[in-house]
């Protein structure tokens, strides 16, 4: 039964559903609060750098392309391509986290962080916006880190020949996970960076 790749993928898809529901709870909070504080959300959104956000979007979309190419590589029995593309994906994860930490630390230095006096002095809607921003992007960043670790393990497995063109469902599943992390960012980006009044 271990060789049933359809079953393994089914299990992975079910797991991805649970991830969507996990973020779904937070998106539900976003929906309610943005409906309650539209003006404040719009104003607070201006504090975020659209350029940084766009850059990270491009980085993540590119990384997803690399994952696809990595899977294609192993299908065509070219494991060295796969290793290279996986390393490129992990590099993208590093860039993403780097940009994110620049953004976070900048906010932190401006005192915009949960439970700081500067933030608490702001209107309530803006407090909620930043609380949601840090919670959702923080949870997403944790997923990026986990995804990068998983991809690192898979890279080693392909490099050492354990994962090969005969059986690469673990690579496919890691790729699915990475696409999910990317997909969630596709929702996070407009919700926080592109809020229009």
């Amino acid at each position: 039964m271990q060789n049933d790749s359809v079953g393994s993928r089914l299990g992975m898809w079910l797991f991805l559903f649970t991830e969507l529901m996990l973020f779904g709870g937070l998106f539900l909070l976003y929906a309610v609060y943005s409906n309650r504080y539209p003006a404040e959300f719009s104003r607070a959104s201006k504090e975020l750098s659209t350029i940084m956000g766009s850059l990270n979007t491009v980085v993540l979309l590119t990384s997803s392309l690399f994952v696809v190419l990595a899977v294609a590589g192993i299908r065509n029995n070219k494991p060295r391509h796969t290793v290279a593309f996986l390393l490129a994906t992990i590099a993208c994860a590093g860039i993403f986290l780097g940009v994110k930490s620049v953004e976070w630390s900048e906010k932190y230095h401006h005192g915009l962080f949960p439970n700081t006096p500067t933030l608490l002095a702001k209107p309530k809607g803006e407090i909620v916006f930043f609380n949601l921003y840090f919670t959702i992007t923080g949870l997403h960043a944790i997923h990026i880190i986990i995804g990068a670790i998983v991809l690192g393990i898979i890279t080693w497995s392909v490099y050492s020949g354990k994962t090969s063109s005969n059986d690469y469902v673990s690579l496919e599943n890691s790729g699915l996970y990475w696409h999910l992390v990317d997909l969630i960012w596709i929702y996070i980006f407009p919700l926080f960076y592109l809020v229009v009044p």
Binding site: G7, G11, L14, T18, L22, F23, G25, L29, N115, E126
Partner: protein, 542 residues
């Protein structure tokens, strides 16, 4: 993997190449994992039971008898957390889902055996964290099992750790659910049509979907409580723009479907037992399957009926009240199907059927009380009273746990190959049934008369009913102890059960008792419908 010759040995046989402990806690055999869960869950059940008895003892007279208010708060919280998250939610899926589902389906194991073992370890880890939280930090949590804000974010008790424990338990449940769905889809023999799957398998399948889809909502909600306590996040704190009502929404989006995670598997157990003991095919097989699906979907859309007095709009009250009534329909369909199956059947009142009948009676009462709470007008009157406590226990104890007891009496002879004493089992059931109704029906009356829940003290006019209730708790506990002794003794020293002690027609009754380590040689071919008893002799018929 074990050697070829071991395949025919029963799964309980010692494994000479491993230590005794290792052959259990590191086993990926679904049957052994089921027994691991059984041991753990039974232990926690007995702990939760003792806490409940202590609460009842405190309430035998007004004023503080054996404890003060803070201890009482901690007791009902810990009783709730243990019984809900450690016992009832995992009970039937984790124990009998693991033991029986793969055999009933015709598989050698679940689809992800190692993940299955990981689920058990996560369960034990989560349970360990929850237990540690009782004895460290600011003492046991005192918020009630619902962890409502603002109390859960402001109390000095050790809520962070117990919330984290529940968070881990959620993971365990998600992985079990994911495993079962994949198992049913991929390990169902290709010759078995979907509409010939046993009803217990169907109920576990729907339960697994609920578990996979709603448990993450609980996870994120609990995470937000932890963040609120640790870094002062404040997404539910009005002074920071948050709304505590949203906590209740998120919590019940999980916790109402969780009631169906508890009850659906129990309904599956009853749907197995009733046809076997009536020697008749399940009446309305398709209706039972379909109603399971409707319960799973509609049951996920009624959560706000817990919040009628929490400040939601009148429109929301009406919508959720209506949906609550809708959910009652598929549950009623099942009850009618079971009774119709019994009608003109060749009934043998063996212990499993008696437990099933107790379930039908208690669950029907509990379900009807649910309609009183589900209609907004009457809910205003009984909200936060003992009526809610009584109703909840009718459904979850009288329903889910009596279903679990029924499953114990039905399947333990299969797992251990030995029978228990029928007279003792029946006597224990009658004790429990009487104790149960004394304990909880009085709560319904007190609730209507205005006794609020979660109080360690009460007005003198409630004392008569409180005393009856407490005496009921003793009778109930005596029945449970009697059942435990009877089952435990029977599984060790009882007479041999044989392969098919009840004359069942599903696949688990075709293998030996206890089942062989690998369940089947080759892929079993289904020769009959799950409830076609033609030519199967029921041993008790003679």
């Amino acid at each position: 993997m074990t050697m070829e010759s071991n395949h025919h040995l029963n799964f309980l046989a010692p494994q000479p190449d491993r230590s005794w402990l290792g052959s259990w806690i590191f086993s990926t055999d679904h049957k052994r994992i089921g027994i691991l869960y059984l041991v753990a869950i039974s232990t926690f059940f007995l702990v939760g039971l003792c806490l409940g008895l202590l609460m009842r003892l405190e309430l035998i007279a007004p004023g503080g008898i054996i404890m003060g208010p803070q201890t009482y708060n901690a007791l009902f919280t810990v009783h709730g957390v243990i019984m809900i998250f450690l016992v009832v939610i995992p009970s039937i899926p984790a124990v009998f889902g693991n033991m029986i589902l793969p055999i009933q389906l015709g598989a050698k194991d679940v689809f992800f055996p190692r993940l299955n073992l990981l689920s058990w370890w996560l369960y034990m880890f989560g349970a360990g964290v929850a237990v540690i939280s009782l004895f460290t930090g600011g003492g046991p949590p005192d918020t009630g099992w619902t962890f409502y804000v603002p109390f859960s974010t402001m109390t000095k008790s050790n809520t962070t750790l117990s919330v984290f424990g529940v968070f881990i338990l959620g993971f365990s449940g998600i992985l079990t659910g994911l495993n079962f769905i994949t198992t049913v889809h991929r390990l169902k023999p290709s010759t078995t049509p979907w509409m010939k799957l046993p009803l217990f398998t169907w109920s576990l399948y729907f339960t697994a979907w609920i578990q996979v889809l709603v448990t993450p909502i609980l996870a994120i909600t609990l995470l937000l409580i932890i963040l609120e306590r640790v870094i002062g996040l404040g997404l539910f704190d009005p002074t920071k723009g948050g709304d505590p009502l949203l906590y209740q929404h998120l919590f019940w989006i999980y916790s109402h479907p969780a009631v169906y995670i508890m009850i659906l598997p129990a309904m599956g157990v009853i749907s197995e037992i009733v046809p076997v003991f009536a020697r008749k095919p399940a009446f309305g097989y398709r209706a039972i399957v379909f109603s399971g699906f409707v319960i799973a979907t509609a049951g996920s859309m009624v959560w706000a009926h817990h919040m009628f007095v929490a400040g939601i709009s009148d429109t929301a009250v009406m919508v959720f009240s209506f949906l609550t009534f809708v959910v009652a329909i598929p549950s009623a369909i099942k009850v009618f199907n079971w009774t119709a199956t019994l009608y003109k059947g060749s009934i043998y009142l063996g212990p499993p059927l008696l437990y099933a009948l107790a379930f039908i009676f208690l669950f029907s009462l509990g379900g009807l009380q649910g309609l009183i709470l589900g209609s907004a007008g009457t809910d205003m009157h009984v909200h936060d009273t003992y009526f809610v406590v009584g109703h909840f226990h009718y459904v979850v104890f009288g329903g889910a746990i009596f279903g679990f007891f029924a499953a114990l009496h039905y399947w333990l002879p299969k797992m251990f190959g030995r029978l228990y004493n029928y007279e003792w089992a029946t006597a224990a059931l009658f004790l429990k049934f009487i104790g149960f109704n004394l304990l909880y029906f009085t709560m319904l009356i007190m609730g209507v008369q205005g006794m609020p829940r979660r109080y360690y003290d009460y007005l003198p006019e409630f004392q008569n009913l409180q005393v009856i209730s407490t005496v009921g708790s003793w009778i109930l506990a005596a029945g449970i102890i009697m059942m435990v002794i009877n089952l435990f003794y029977g599984m060790r020293y009882g007479e041999k059960a044989g392969d098919n002690p009840w004359g069942g027609a599903t696949l688990e009754w075709t293998v030996s008792s206890p089942p062989p380590a690998e369940n089947f040689e080759g892929e079993p071919v289904l020769t009959r419908s799950p409830y076609d008893f033609k030519d199967i002799k029921a041993p008790h018929a003679e």
